[in-house]
Structure formats: C-alpha cells, structure tokens
C-alpha cells in the first residue's frame, strides 16, 4: 500500500486533532455549565450556530476575521448571560429535567430566528486571507487554517485553566462546583457565579462556531449535529470533567478522521461505537467519578 504511507496517517492524525479541537471547545462549555449549574444545555448547539452567524454578520458589516474572534464570544456570552438570568434562573430547584427541556425549546426558537433573519440556505465562510494555504509540518503540507484552529483552542484552554486555577474567582467556581451550599454559607453570591459560568460556557460555544465556520460553512442546523457528537465526548470523557472533555474531544476527532481514511462510510457511526464501548467498560467515562452517573 504505497498510497497509505505513514506520512499520510500522520497528516490525517493532525486533521483529526483540528476537528477534535472544535469538539473540545464545544464540550468544555457544556461540561463547565453542567459541572456548576447541573444544567444540560440543549441549546449549546444553537449558541454555537449563533456564534457562526454573528461572525457572518460582522463580515457583512465590513469587519474582518480578527474583530470576529473578539466580538463573537463577547456577544454570544452576553446573550448567554441574558438567557440564564431570564429563562433558566426561575427553574433552579425544580428538578434537573426542566432546564434541559427549557433549553431544548429555546434551541428551536433560536434556530428559527436565525432562519427568519438570514434565510434557510446558509452561507459559505471564506478562510481569512492570511490563513489560507498550507505549511510543511515535517510529514507533509497541512492547511494553515486547521493549524490555527488547534492553536486558538490551545490558547482558550490555557486561558481557562489560568482563570480557574490561579484567580480567586476561579477558586469560587471550583468550590461552587463541589458544594454550592457551603459556598453560599461563606457569603458568596452563587447565583452571580452561575450567571458568569453560563456566560463563559456559551461564549466558548460561540467561539467554537466561528472557528468551525470556514471548515464547514454556516447553516441554521449546524448546531444539532455537533450537539449529539458533543454528548458522546462528554459521556466518554466523564461529565463535568474539563480534562476529560479535552482528552475525549481530541480522541473523538482522531477516531472520526482515521475512520474516514480507512472506511469513509463508517466515519459518522464510529464515534457512537466508541461511546458504546466506553459505556460497557467504564460507564462513568474516563475522568468521571464513579456513581456520578447514577
């Protein structure tokens, strides 16, 4: 098999990492929100889609991609904050299913709003000029933009890690995830912390949508598919674990990428097979605490 050299496999591995980077960003937002608020955000895909559309809108207004990188997470995050404050907060203490159902309804509304504002057909999203082309990474030429996606994801992860581990607000978030009752007793306004965490999670989802836009185009339904796949990532990695989300996200990306090299028709199914295996062997996921699942 001359065509299937080691270089090709290495390149495909990198492509898998770039794809995985999007999953990672999507899933850490989901995981962060769940870890703190115990809310499974079914509208996470819709926030991701809105992120891409805000990017499209900024480009229409004459902005460039670099403005998008700052403005998209900011705007989507603010929108997320508003959603938490107005819609999700009244549901705390009413059972774990209700916020899930509410965000599910919200995703319909958001997708339909975007269809009204931007049409049903979607847009292509050009890769910014400086990031076009490919670079030699030792094993062959690799698209520069995908390298940028990996780099941007690593930057976000590093910033998030520093924020959570090295700032006093991060300390409150980690404490709140473990025992919100005690944190409240210590005089911290937990509701405000939850508001900010929901904002950060949705901001990262919007950012992920923007990064994915040049790779796959922008359509109103783009959030639905990735939501199901991100659930696989969270189940494999362990719910509420950020480390697990990172590892599982990259793993899922690589698995999709490798199966599309060897058996393209099985690429979409492979990640669900991965989930099935993990559920049988280790139902709580890689980094999930045993018993958290039940």
């Amino acid at each position: 098999m001359a065509g299937l050299s080691l270089d090709l496999i290495a390149l495909q591995l990198f492509a898998g990492l770039a794809l995985g980077a999007i999953y990672v960003l999507f899933a850490i937002g989901l995981s962060l929100i769940f870890g703190m608020l115990t809310v499974v955000n079914f509208a996470h895909g819709a926030f991701y889609m809105v992120g891409a559309y805000v990017g499209v809108y900024i480009l229409m207004l004459g902005g460039d991609f670099w403005i998008c990188l700052i403005a998209v997470p900011l705007l989507v995050g603010l929108f997320g904050v508003a959603v938490e404050r107005v819609l999700i907060r009244p549901l705390y203490g009413r059972g774990i299913d209700y916020p899930l159902l509410l965000t599910f309804g919200l995703s319909y509304v958001m997708v339909e709003f975007v269809r009204i504002a931007f049409g049903k057909t979607g847009f292509p999203f050009d890769t910014p000029e400086i990031l076009q082309g490919a670079v030699n990474i030792g094993v062959g030429y690799f698209p520069l933009y995908r390298l940028f996606v990996i780099g941007a994801t690593a930057t976000v992860l590093l910033a998030l890690w520093l924020f959570l581990e090295k700032t006093s607000f991060g300390l409150i978030i980690r404490a709140g995830a473990r025992d919100p009752q005690i944190v409240r007793v210590l005089g911290v306004d937990v509701a405000r912390v939850w508001l900010i965490v929901f904002g950060i999670g949705t901001a990262i989802a919007g950012f992920a949508g923007l990064l994915a836009a040049p790779l796959q185009g922008v359509i109103p339904e783009m959030g639905g598919t990735i939501l199901a796949e991100a659930f696989v990532v969270t189940v494999v990695g362990g719910m509420g674990s950020i480390g697990g989300a990172v590892l599982a996200g990259l793993l899922v990306g690589v698995v999709v990428s490798m199966t599309s090299l060897f058996a393209p028709e099985m690429a979409k199914v492979s990640i669900f097979a991965l989930m099935a295996v993990v559920l049988i062997i280790r139902p709580q996921g890689f980094f999930g605490r045993a018993g958290l699942m039940s």
Binding site: F34, T38, V40, L87, P90, L91, R94, I96, D97, Y98, L100, L101, L102, F104, G105, L106, S107, Y108, V109, V111, E112, F113, R115, I116, G224, T225, L227, A228, E229, F231, V232, T234, V235, M239, E265, K268, V269, F272, A273, M275, A276, L279, I280, P283, M293, S294
Partner: protein
C-alpha cells in the same frame, strides 16, 4: 366516587370512545389520523418518561425503526399488511432492547444524552443502508390500498376507513397499556421512579424493570411507526431525525406526563397548534418552541395534569 376515580377506572374505555367519535368533530380526517399516530407514539414515550421517570431523547429511533421495518416488509418482501405491522412492532422492541441495554447503564441526565447520541447513530445507519431504506430519498412505494380482514375488504384509501383501521390498533394499545399499568409490574415501574432504594429493598430489580419498561415502550412506538408508514406510504429519513425525538417530548409535556390521557391530549393540542400556526407563517417552529418554553416555565404539569390536580381529592 369522584369523576377522577371514575375516569381512572375506565380510562381505556373512555379514551377509546373519544377516539371513535373524534373524526366527527375534526375539520380534516388526515389531521385526526396524525393525532392518533403521534398520540400513540407519545403514549409509548410517556411510559418511559412519565411512569418510569427517565427522559429519553432517542425515541425517534424506536418510532423510525418500526416505520422502516413495516415499509421494508411491504416494499422488499411483499408481505401482507398485518405481517408488516407485526414486524414494525418487533423492530421497535428490538431497537429498544439494543438502545436500552446501553442507555440504562446511565441515569438521570445522562440517559437523555446517551439515548440521543444512540438514536443519531441509528439515523446514520439507516441513511447509509440505501439499498434497503432508500437513504436520503426515503423508502417509497408502501402502497396498501386494501385492508383484508378475514375476507372483508376495507378501502384504505378512504380517509375515514383509514382512520378507523388505525384507531382499532390505537384502541388495542390503550387496553394493553392500561393493563400493564394496572398490573403489579406497573406498580413496580412507579415504585422505581418514586424511590429506587426502597424498591430495591423490597426485592425488585430496578435495572431489569427499567429495561423491560423501555422495551415495552419500544413496542408501542414501533406500532406507531408502522402505522405512520402505512399512512404516509413513504418513510422519510427525517423520521429518525433528532426533531422526531424532540416532538414527542413536547407532546408528552404539553399533555401532561405520567397521565393516561395526557399523550393523546398533547398530540391533539400540539398538532392543532402546528396546523393553525403554519396557516399564517412558515416559521411555526418559532411559535411551537416558545409555547413549549412557556409550558416548561409555567405549566410543567401539562394540560391534563393541570386539570386533574384540581379534580383530585
């Protein structure tokens, strides 16, 4: 005896009577047929969500498998209609067993995520089996014109006849479900929902109860899917889409989860609303989504649930 007790005791008969007179008050019989089928689908879903307390976001896989197997039996094997329906039910049961075995290893919120992911997997599998399912174009040519029962030939093209043929199956499902719920096993289902530890301490296996309930739910949803295939004479691939799983969650919540009449009332309310709204806008999902959110925020017990909370002593 209050009206509520009376309604509970004769729930299957009352539901059947309503179903029998229903087309007389509906503007279009086609809409009435849709309400029947989606009501049956929600009935099966409600068994898992309402009575067992597990939120599934993957019921499209059960409904869709029933529809596809019924369609494949007719299109590829030219089997008679009753064999096709039986295969549809079997398909729903088997798919539920497959998904159930994996998904009941998780609880609570994870159950919703895992069922959704697995049903997405089923979507891709059926999408790729083009020879059997027609892939993106859907499975076409499920033409059943005459329903032959012991020599009596019924014209399935006639809307009213079609309604009553489908209603016969739905009524049978009412009685089967009512029987299951009234049985000791039905009590165990609710015991597992209310307090798993106590149910276990009483000697019941919670995991097996969950699995059996999920599989039974698959049977009802498979039947609903099979009837849908006969009704539409095509199985679109969208039947397995995530939206089909979502719709049934909305219907069950709108009608009142964990109640016997809730799913049918929810289906009627949901489809009438969808029908009314789509007359004046194509963006009916906006209204439906908003109504659902209002329901979650202010009327979590649903239409029927709110009514009986007043009728209960």
């Amino acid at each position: 005896m209050s009206w509520f007790q009376f309604a509970t005791r004769h729930r299957a008969s009352i539901a059947s009577l309503v179903v029998l007179v229903f087309p007389l008050v509906m503007p279009f019989t086609a809409l009435a047929v849709n309400i029947l089928i989606y009501g049956l689908y929600a009935l099966g879903f409600n068994l898992v969500y309402g009575y067992l307390g597990l939120l599934s976001f993957g019921h499209a896989a059960l409904f869709g498998t029933g529809a596809y197997l019924c369609g494949i039996a007719i299109v590829h094997f030219a089997l008679p209609w009753y064999a096709a329906i039986a295969l549809g039910i079997l398909g729903g049961l088997l798919m539920a067993a497959l998904i159930g075995v994996l998904a009941i290893r998780t609880r609570g919120i994870y159950f919703a995520m895992v069922t959704m992911a697995l049903s997405q997997c089923v979507y891709y599998l059926f999408y790729q089996a083009v020879d059997w399912t027609g892939g993106e174009n859907g499975l076409r040519g499920i033409n059943v014109r005459v329903i032959d029962i012991f020599g009596i030939k019924l014209n399935f093209i006639n809307p009213l006849t079609r309604y009553y043929v489908i209603a016969a199956f739905v009524i049978a499902a009412f009685f089967v479900l009512s029987r299951i719920l009234a049985s000791p096993f039905g009590a165990v289902i609710e015991a597992v929902r209310e307090n798993e530890t106590r149910a276990k301490a009483s000697g019941y296996d919670a995991t097996v109860t969950r699995l059996i309930t999920f599989v039974l739910s698959g049977g009802f949803c498979g039947l609903a899917g099979a009837l849908q295939a006969l009704h539409l004479s095509i199985v679109p691939i969208e039947i397995l889409h995530y939206d089909t799983s979502g719709v049934v969650v909305m219907i069950a919540l709108l009608g009142g989860m964990g109640t016997f009449f809730g799913p049918m009332i929810g289906a009627a309310a949901f489809l009438l609303l969808e029908n009314l709204v789509s007359v004046w806008t194509v963006h009916w999902q906006l209204i439906v989504g908003a109504v659902f959110m209002i329901c979650v925020l202010f009327f979590p017990a649903g239409i029927w649930g709110t009514l009986i909370s007043r009728g209960k002593p």
